[in-house]
């Protein structure tokens, strides 16, 4: 049988100097190894953030809180939200907050369904507390809709703070008072809440989002509290002081698809802190399909590309900034931001370098591959377990999706690498040193090496498969195989492509079905 191993004699005793015989080859191999190990960056970044979460009890903002309950105007942009708006208003009116200090303004963006009637019915039910503001020419996007309401509310003096929310979002009864107490500190301009996926009964996709939100909201944003810089006030839960709204110009940026991230960064650049109150809980309905998710995240992804570009003078330049804004230019915050933005590049570089290393030194490639996945195994174990413990009630519903977040194949690689001796011989034709004796074994090995990139293609395939006749059923096992994380990464690639193409900025509204049960 032919020996399909290439580039090196295997495991023990092999060295680049011995096989290539040149310093240049050693340097080249070192560069390849460094590129391969870039593949650990995403999970190391996540581990870093979760270690910061551990410091939150010492770096939270509770020492500066007061029983402060300003007059709050709740701004709800709505376009064809008849299915959910009535329930949302009822829940807002039921908040544990002084009734005379709480008003709801629904900004109706020229809805063509029963939204106006639903809002007017609630205005009759809660006289003087619920208001219907209609735009006759809508469809320009959420930021324009918000600005319509913002102009109205800033024109009189009643409003002391503004809560920007979405029509499908449901607040826990005690959430608003938990948020407003932070505004007692005049250095705080805006507060967000922990948005959790609230669809019931939900499906596999909403459970994936449920787990993602534990990591991205309850976890990562606590870490950002510790760093003193917030990446994004959740679009459905932004509480601003009036002073902050005036400081950022009294309007929301309309030139981007990420108006909430722009508002967050502008708040901090204008000299006030933005922070999360992780114990204020807000429930939101999230997409229940690959294509729904893709549409939503493509908008977010393009918005983040725009933010990255617009504030390019800010990243890693702490010295240029003053006040709370200087934390935006810190190394820690910059690393967290760019780990997400550059994830596809990192994966492609890592996999390509591993394949190149395979053809240079098979044994070294195998060892570095295992090192990569062992480090990933540790990061994965730590962050997943920690995330599930942060929010045990959600964890009981989403723990399977938590462990399958990177996909069944990646999970198998993590387990295999961490406990390799137990699984010896499972990879066809591969011995314990990563050399193979058959063509099938070589192909299998290379496929494993490029899996992170293959999973991105698989994620794209899932999007296309779902559009077919039986796609919504067939796509489920594919999503579990490639992983939810791969879908998010593929959407990031797509967002770069759309921005590069200069595609029109269309506000593709996520369809809501009123499934939030909280």
């Amino acid at each position: 049988m032919a020996d399909w191993s290439v580039g090196g004699s295997g495991y023990a005793g092999s060295s680049v100097v011995g096989t290539a015989g040149s310093v240049a080859a050693t340097v080249g191999e070192s560069i390849l190894i460094a590129f391969v190990l870039l593949g650990t960056v995403p999970l190391l970044s996540m581990t870093y953030q979760f270690l910061l979460v551990g410091l939150h009890p010492w770096r939270d903002h509770y020492n500066r809180c007061e029983p402060f309950q300003p007059r709050v105007a709740v701004l709800v942009p709505a376009w064809n939200e008849a299915a959910v708006i009535g329930h949302t208003i009822d829940r807002l009116m039921g908040l544990h907050y002084p009734p005379d200090a709480l008003r709801v303004y629904v900004i109706d963006d020229a809805s063509t369904d029963g939204t106006p009637e639903a809002v007017l019915a609630k205005a009759d039910k809660y006289p003087g507390r619920v208001f219907h503001l209609r735009r006759e020419h809508g469809g320009e996007g959420k930021a324009h809709t918000l600005n319509h309401g913002l102009r109205t509310l800033l024109s009189d003096s009643w409003m002391q703070a503004m809560l920007i929310t979405d029509a499908d979002v449901v607040y826990a009864a005690d959430s608003l008072r938990r948020m407003t107490r932070h505004l007692a500190d005049p250095k705080v301009g805006a507060v967000t809440a922990y948005i959790t996926e609230g669809s019931r009964p939900g499906n596999y996709m909403t459970r994936f989002v449920g787990y993602e939100y534990i990591t991205a909201q309850a976890g990562a944003r606590r870490a950002q509290n510790v760093l003193g810089a917030l990446a994004c006030l959740a679009g459905g839960a932004q509480l601003h002081s009036r002073a902050n709204l005036e400081a950022i110009g009294g309007r929301i940026d309309t030139t981007s698809l990420a108006e909430d991230t722009f508002t967050t960064i502008n708040t901090q650049l204008a000299g006030r802190r933005a922070l999360i109150e992780p114990n204020a809980i807000v429930y939101a309905e999230e997409p229940d399909s690959v294509n729904g998710l893709w549409k939503q995240r493509l908008r977010w992804g393009r918005g983040n590309v725009q933010v990255t570009s617009r504030y390019r003078w800010m990243w890693f330049r702490r010295g240029r900034l003053t006040g709370p804004a200087r934390h935006l230019g810190g190394i820690g915050f910059g690393c967290i931001w760019f780990t997400t933005m550059l994830l596809p590049v990192v994966l492609v570089l890592s996999s390509s370098a591993l394949v190149a290393l395979y053809f240079t030194d098979t044994g070294m490639a195998w060892r570095i591959f295992q090192s990569l996945w062992i480090i990933n195994a540790l990061g994965f174990f730590f962050t997943t377990t920690f995330a599930l413990l942060i929010d045990p009630s959600t964890a009981r519903r989403v723990w399977r999706e938590a462990f399958l977040f990177p996909g069944a194949m990646s999970l198998a690689l993590i387990v295999y690498s961490a406990f390799r001796p137990v699984f010896e011989g499972i990879v066809p034709g591969a011995d314990s040193h990563g050399t193979t004796k058959s063509l099938v074994g070589t192909i299998a090995l290379l496929f494993i090496y490029v899996w992170p990139v293959a999973a991105l293609i698989g994620a794209w395939g899932a999007k296309r498969l779902e559009e077919t006749k039986f796609g919504r059923l067939l796509v489920i096992p594919l999503v579990y195989l490639v992983g939810f994380g791969s879908i998010l990464c593929a959407v990031t690639v797509h967002s770069y492509i759309r921005e590069w193409q200069g595609a029109e900025m269309v506000w593709d509204k996520t369809e809501k079905k009123g499934t939030v049960a909280a």
């Binding site: 939150h56 008072r177 107490r181 992780p278 062992i374 540790l378 730590f382 413990l389 690498s417 390799r420």
Partner: protein, 65 residues
């Protein structure tokens, strides 16, 4: 509020506080105590130790084989 900041940086009791202010402050203190408890209960120390033990275990598995 039932307590006001005093010039020394501490707080003094405010005898003019209304019942509503007293109630609001009570709720505020209950919320704060509960939320500080939630933050303090995050099991990061235990997990960090577990992660280190795991690192040693898999490193050993990897290098001795």
């Amino acid at each position: 509020m039932t307590y006001r900041p005093d010039p020394t940086g501490g707080q003094r009791y405010d005898p003019d506080a209304t019942p509503e202010e007293i109630y609001r402050e009570g709720v505020f203190r209950e919320d704060l105590a509960r939320d500080r408890g939630v933050e303090a209960a995050l099991p990061w120390k235990e997990l960090f130790v577990l992660a280190l033990v795991g690192l040693l275990a898999v490193t050993r598995l990897f290098w001795i084989s």
